[in-house]
């Protein structure tokens, strides 16, 4: 009986709508705020659908313990951590296999974007805390971390943006949520890229895709990543454009008083 019920889930209906009403190439709503943590060199808060992520950047600063430093480049210490209350069942706060892996791949993705060779013997510490999660949190972490790095004024070749693409119910869809990720034939591919050069800096895949499906998925990921890039851009600029508006208002007020 249970099995039969499972088969009844339709991931993409005849109108092209998904379980939560999105189209196949539609992202969940993204909201980014830069500069939320005053004591950090750079920071960002991101909401991506149900995902809620804080990213903080410290550095470049002295690399301790000293044997981890490199005289050729800055070392990026990326820490991805999930809060115990970020998932339906309590998560053991001890960093697990999954978190260590995500920290490694995300750190390496960022290293490609940052001019690490400008800061020998230093470390750039990036900490990302997942406060609430619902699939796609590693890309959310990377997106937030990239905004935080720009907010810290660390020289970068490009931002890092991305999305997950995948398959659920036999259809290729963008930005899978938890229900879609749990489909019996689900394929999930987080992809992160540098938006200007379209260079892929992170790609992981579990599941099986045909060549044709992959081509379609990659094309959709590229388009969606650019949408994420636009949100990042707006978030970074908003911090200053709002300040400008305040200044102009103050000026106007001053003129009126005169």
């Amino acid at each position: 009986m249970g099995k039969k019920k499972e088969e009844q889930i339709i991931y993409v209906d005849s109108k092209g709508k998904r379980l939560d009403g999105r189209k196949v190439d539609e992202l969940r709503p993204i909201k980014i705020t830069a500069g939320v943590i005053p004591r950090a060199d750079g920071s960002a808060y991101l909401e991506w659908g149900q995902n809620k992520v804080f990213a903080a950047v410290y550095g470049p600063r002295e690399c301790l313990p000293k044997h981890t430093a490199s005289p050729y480049k800055a070392v990026i210490k990326f820490v991805y951590r999930m809060a115990a209350f970020s998932v339906p069942d309590r998560k053991n706060p001890k960093p697990g296999r999954r978190e260590v892996e995500i920290s490694k791949v995300c750190g390496e993705a960022l290293e490609r974007a940052i001019f690490v060779e400008k800061f020998p013997n230093t470390s750039i510490d990036v900490t990302v805390e997942i406060v609430d999660s619902n699939a796609g949190s590693r890309i959310a972490a990377l997106t937030a971390a990239s905004v935080a790095l720009a907010d810290a004024g660390i020289p970068m070749r490009d931002m890092v943006c991305g999305t997950s693409v995948g398959k659920a119910g036999g259809k290729i869809i963008v930005d899978l949520d938890k229900d879609e990720e749990d489909a019996s034939d689900a394929v999930d591919i987080p992809i992160a890229m540098l938006p200007n050069s379209k260079e892929v800096v992170l790609l992981q895949l579990d599941g099986v895709l045909t060549r044709k499906e992959w081509d379609e998925a990659y094309k959709m990921a590229e388009v969606s990543a650019m949408k994420v890039y636009e949100v990042q851009k707006q978030a970074l600029k908003a911090k200053y454009i709002n300040g400008e508006a305040d200044a102009n208002k103050a000026e106007k007020k001053g003129v009126e008083e005169k």
Binding site: D41, G42, G59, P60, R61, E62, P71, A113, F115, F119, P120, N121, T122, A150, D151, A152, G153, I154, P155, M156, R157, D158, M159, L194, P195, N196, S197, Q232, K233, L236, K237, Y240, I241, G243, E244, D246, A247, N248, A250, E251, G254
Partner: protein, 222 residues
């Protein structure tokens, strides 16, 4: 003069221009490497950054805080990538953790490690932080901004290039507010005029007493 806000990886220009600071070239086009402002009419393609750490440069005057004492000298926090060190040989004063000094950068190596010279110990006062890349805005053209602030607050002020402002006496609350205003509006034009107006409105046009010739540098105990 119009300025454009760019983020890392954003195109600065497709023309062939001389390279200024905070830009890099890819496939013949010039891109920004930081969040900052671009002046499209300038001969140089360069970005004036709005965020960033202090990168030490020779002959800069900086403000440091003593963090530790060792046998031969003191560890100094200079608000940059690494802490620095001053030798006891060069000092007449006895310092202790928490002492504030002004120093000149004599030498910078390829690891951005610095050697300090002309060390002077501050006598009292307090330090206020400012984003290091905004220090030039705080000083203004030929010190114009700093003169306005000094005139309005009546404080003794020394600005370190590493993003620290030492101040003593006068209206320190107004000074703190002024620094915050510079931080917030550093990227908007005519800041100096607005700052003059701001200080006028805060003090009600009253001239503070001229900075008294207070002791700025002292020896040993405060």
């Amino acid at each position: 003069m119009t300025k454009r806000l760019v983020i890392p990886g954003e195109l600065v220009t497709e023309e062939r221009k001389k390279l200024g600071s905070h830009v890099f070239v890819r496939e013949g086009k010039i891109y920004s490497d930081s969040i900052g402002l671009v002046n499209d009419e300038a001969d140089f393609a360069s970005v004036v950054p709005l965020e960033g750490k202090y990168a030490p440069q020779m002959n800069d005057v900086i403000i440091g805080v003593i963090t530790s004492e060792r046998f031969a000298g003191y560890g100094v926090d200079i608000n940059s990538f690494y802490p620095s060190f001053v030798s006891k040989k060069e000092l007449r004063e006895v310092l202790k953790p928490g002492s504030i000094i002004s120093a000149k950068i004599m030498k910078v190596n390829e690891f951005n490690e610095v050697e300090l010279g002309s060390i002077r110990l501050f006598f009292g006062g307090e330090i206020m932080p400012v984003t290091p890349v905004k220090v030039p805005r705080l000083i203004g053209k030929e010190g114009s901004m700093l003169n306005i602030i000094k005139g309005g607050t009546g404080s003794n002020i020394i600005v370190g290039r590493n993003g620290r402002v030492w101040a003593k006496g006068g209206n320190l609350d107004l000074l703190r507010k002024s620094i915050e205003k510079v931080e917030r509006e550093a990227h908007v034009d005519h800041l100096t005029d607005r700052m003059a107006e701001f200080i006028q409105s805060q003090t009600g046009g009253k001239k503070p007493e001229a900075p008294r010739g207070e002791e700025m540098f002292g020896e040993g105990e405060q």
